[in-house]
Symmetry: D2
Subunit: 349 residues, 4 copies
């Protein structure tokens, strides 16, 4: 399988460069006879799009989905579904000043070393824009999971030093997608300050899944947490992932960390809903660490193609904090992984 594909029973293949003619995704293995909610798909696309969130970039892009195959009269046919996002803006001129220099924190240099070619169009394949194709696939996966009673909810739970204490998910329709309304406003204020300072800031995204039956996940290397980690860690900005008590487990005793249970159910969920790589029927809880956006309009030291030290100010309008938009990408990768494992464990019906 190529490295631009993910999943076995529900296989997603993405292609396309930022500022190329189009991005797209081929989705193979979808059950037949499912009526796609096209408005729902587009709504999820809009949650991720640039300009769709006041904390993000001011660039305004429309991610309009075109479906080229696999759907007949609104229903899936069982054949591969191709979804395309044509670019409305292919101007590479904006990037001309980056032609010979490598942006700090970006993939410019490693791609150049690996491929011996420099595609300067907005980061090419390593751009965050690539994730729009994943969101298209993830949105479909979420609909197919919803049919099975499985729901996925992501949100920002930390930005810099601001940490959400509450988990009121019905409050999470704020611009931060944060389940703590008070923290959300503090995050927004901090991000605005960071923007003014021409800087960026990191955060943590939490994702919760409800309705997963016991039995998802395939030992040994197909463990649920292993595949979810593969999926979420394939998002460029993610630098860490944890399940349940995660890194806090390092401080714990077994007598505290073990989830005891009675005939009425589990008494805690330190495991994050997974035991031995298989879903236990509890809520699945994971967190992803998001690094600060690499593109900042501050002078930074870097090198050019001749390995000469130089100073770079990255121009353009970038998200000071990627979290609110990355929430949608995390949800998408979680959805893709869960549907893949659901099909594997329980078939397509």
């Amino acid at each position: 399988m190529g490295h631009n594909s993910f999943g076995n029973a529900f296989t997603v293949t993405t292609f396309g460069e930022s500022h190329g003619p189009a991005l797209g995704v081929i989705i193979d293995g979808v059950e037949s006879g499912f009526k796609i909610d096209m408005e729902g798909l587009q709504a999820q696309m809009n949650r991720r799009r640039p300009g769709g969130n006041p904390t993000g970039t001011k660039r305004n892009e429309i991610d309009e989905l075109s479906i080229l195959s696999g759907v007949y009269e609104g229903y899936t046919t069982g054949t591969p579904i191709a979804m395309i996002l044509y670019s409305t803006n292919q101007k590479s001129a904006d990037y001309e000043h980056l032609k010979d220099v490598f942006r700090p924190g970006h993939a410019d240099w490693t791609f150049y070393k690996k491929y011996g070619i420099r595609d300067i169009r907005g980061g090419g394949r390593s751009s965050g824009r690539e994730t729009s194709a994943r969101v298209a696939a993830g949105a479909l996966a979420m609909q197919l999971l919803a049919k099975r009673g499985i729901s996925i909810q992501g949100g920002t739970v930390q930005v810099g030093p601001i940490i959400a204490r509450a988990r009121n998910w019905d409050e999470a329709d704020n611009v931060m997608r944060c389940p703590d309304r008070v923290a959300a406003q503090q995050m927004v204020d901090l991000i605005e300050q960071v923007r003014v300072e021409n800087d960026s800031i990191g955060g943590i995204i939490e994702c919760r899944v409800n309705g997963v039956p016991a039995g998802l996940g395939e030992p040994v290397f197909g463990k649920l947490q292993a595949l979810l980690s593969h999926a979420v860690m394939s998002i460029g900005a993610v630098k860490g992932i944890q399940f349940g008590s995660g890194f806090a487990s390092a401080f714990m005793r077994g007598s505290e960390c073990n989830d005891q249970r009675t005939s009425n159910g589990f008494l805690s969920n330190h495991a994050g809903g997974i035991l031995g790589g298989i879903s236990s029927g509890q809520e699945i809880v994971l967190q992803a660490a998001i690094k600060p956006t690499s593109s900042i309009s501050r002078a930074q030291q870097t090198i050019n193609k001749n390995n000469e030290t130089t100073t770079l100010v990255v121009e353009g309008r970038h998200d000071p904090c990627i979290c609110p938009r990355a929430v949608v990408v995390v949800e998408s990768m979680v959805a893709i992984t869960l549907l893949d494992l659901y099909y594997t464990a329980f078939g397509r019906t």
Copy 2:
């Protein structure tokens, strides 16, 4: 590919249950003509084995490798290498008291729900003993990487509240494999205390890789950190993983987190040696969160097959802290992943 296999160009397939007749691994894709250092293999096996570390279980097991194929007169032939660990102790009697009850924090219940069968022999396939087969494959991978100038060093850097401050890797040959000699002794003392209290404790393992050339890792879903996360998170006790600054990135500004560079090299390594999913040539640094051992000799609430609440004391001699032995498993999975990606990017020569 089956879910008991990992890797594409260097493919590892494990089999076997704890207390079954044998565990083993099939390694496919190895270059031909490589002289295996059999003593080196066995030495790495010994680092993981029960009874090999004073902080661990007092059970004393020998993991002696038998090679059944793929090697001729000491050299690899290019055909699959089968390595087997025959069990010297298959007594299932010790586990008879667990027949109808599900141990907290274990995979007993999820395996039972998924497969409808209860293999009580020491946890069967979900036992930590399964990882011995991975260590065999990992030990070979480490030799093949060493030939290419790549070295992997893991160690315990946290146990409960004891956190290693130093990174003196030449001190790491202590029982904790901790790069901070003072912290190591504190860890040992704490673990002994935890053992006396019939409890267990978690920790953090760090793994560093030196000598990786720029260019390893395949965007988009084959990103180096994504595959390493898949690999390391497939170890049962691992609840989280992070690269470079990891979760600390959430607190950072871009101006701090971006790794600037001059013609003399990078000025920092917050990225942990990976940019855009591709190795940058810097040291690769990752950490894995290890939960406290689930098996403790304390009364815990759980249920039996009839969903009746019951109280269980898990008998037997278990590791109060799995970190020193898990270090070897983390190293192994890192080695397997890196060699797979090395073969993919640069071929077998």
Copy 3:
């Protein structure tokens, strides 16, 4: 990997339905820095297109390639290449009379049984038109193989009772792509007669590959002939495949069939250039049996959705003999397979 994908190191994923908005292919794993000969690609597309051959259908379709990704300023970048063929004719009206009836020899019924849905648009995914996406990928593979000195030549060597005796490949630029000019003319005459009789006819395609170095193919299940068979047998009209002496081997003695050799080289090529699943350096020779086109304008018995017997005359202009166009598809699948194995054995440089 999804079932609409083929290949490991050079991975081809196709999508699209006949008479849907578009067909396409995503090609993953291509080396970077290769200058694509776009005219050459289009020329190969034209060899397969309907209306491009006097023996075929009179329908005239243009298969114009659009490249959406993976190419920058004419050179491959190492990222996935998406090639799209937009449909100029999406009229489904022509197929309205087939809505409730299953065409003999077609996949109508099995797709309906499998997917519970009937996409009547020209056979949907099972149409021969699906192969146009493979030809696009195959044309690129042929260019990448040519760079390595490997050339692929296919031709029609049998149509009904007319069997080519000669192998003058420099004569094969006739409409049958037949390496025997005399037989070619007889084939054309026979096909015209078949067309007048509203019937169709089968044939045999031969494909030869020169310049393959010894060493291609991966035992055991990745044997060169196994993967080539997988590839070629995935073409809908192919009912059999053989290598070298193939089915004639059944009549042979070992003393005749073994290819003896001297220091000057092999004395024969009954093996068809493959020994033990690995290329020997000799010419690779394979043949594929092509069934007569299923769509014929003659009354045939079949059933409808209510399992009632009915009589059907398939309308429209179909190829009485698919061989000349299928030659291009066979070449394409051979090229895709060889490049995949070449990358696997020798890397991308």
Copy 4:
């Protein structure tokens, strides 16, 4: 996936060299809770073993299966099943005379070219003995298919010029496994004559599958005939495969070759039970061309490692006609493929 593995939902990985310590197979993806008929497994092993058939080699080997994992108290557990065949005869001395010379028709030379190493132990990995591991996996697959009402029957239908006319499968328990008792005796006589002449002879194996429901097979590249071809063509001695009318289709008109049908069913089966890559519910019929055994005790020209022409007489007792034993291998590969596709299409229950 490594090239020594086959199948996606039911994955078979083989290892081991002829005259190495053991051969074996890891079977991943088997449903849990299935009671294995161990005597049935061994019986199928015995059908393939050397010395088990009077037309074959006089070498007498026992292929006794050891199961190392995946089975608990006689039932499958859902974890990988490891089956091992330990060698009782590892004498490499017999092969000493072959050390520097390449046997005609064998993989000696291509393995040497590919791997740069010469494992002279009975052909190593390319020996027919490798197929014993496949037969073990195939025997299990046949039991799992039988539970679902699917039966597989292979037989020899041609040896040299002797062609079976009848298809009386209840007569097929003769030494040739030939469904024509009269032809079977002629085949036996011919093989004895060939043996006396120190030669070998080819043949054709037919395999029929009954009870397959409509719906098996996954378009486009996962077509039933494509995967069956991959599987069967991975057997070293097979030089061709055809389905239904196969190569005879080349002579046919569409009006003859199309399988018409009425409400009472199909009127013919030229397609061999597959339409558009999906099983139609008809009997699946395929034939495999078997080349004459390469090892013959006649002087043949070949080269040695110094590329000097030399003459070789292969010593030892080899099968003059491999067909009766290869029947079992073909059945096995067909069974493995069908179960893989069955699990994919219909799940494990």
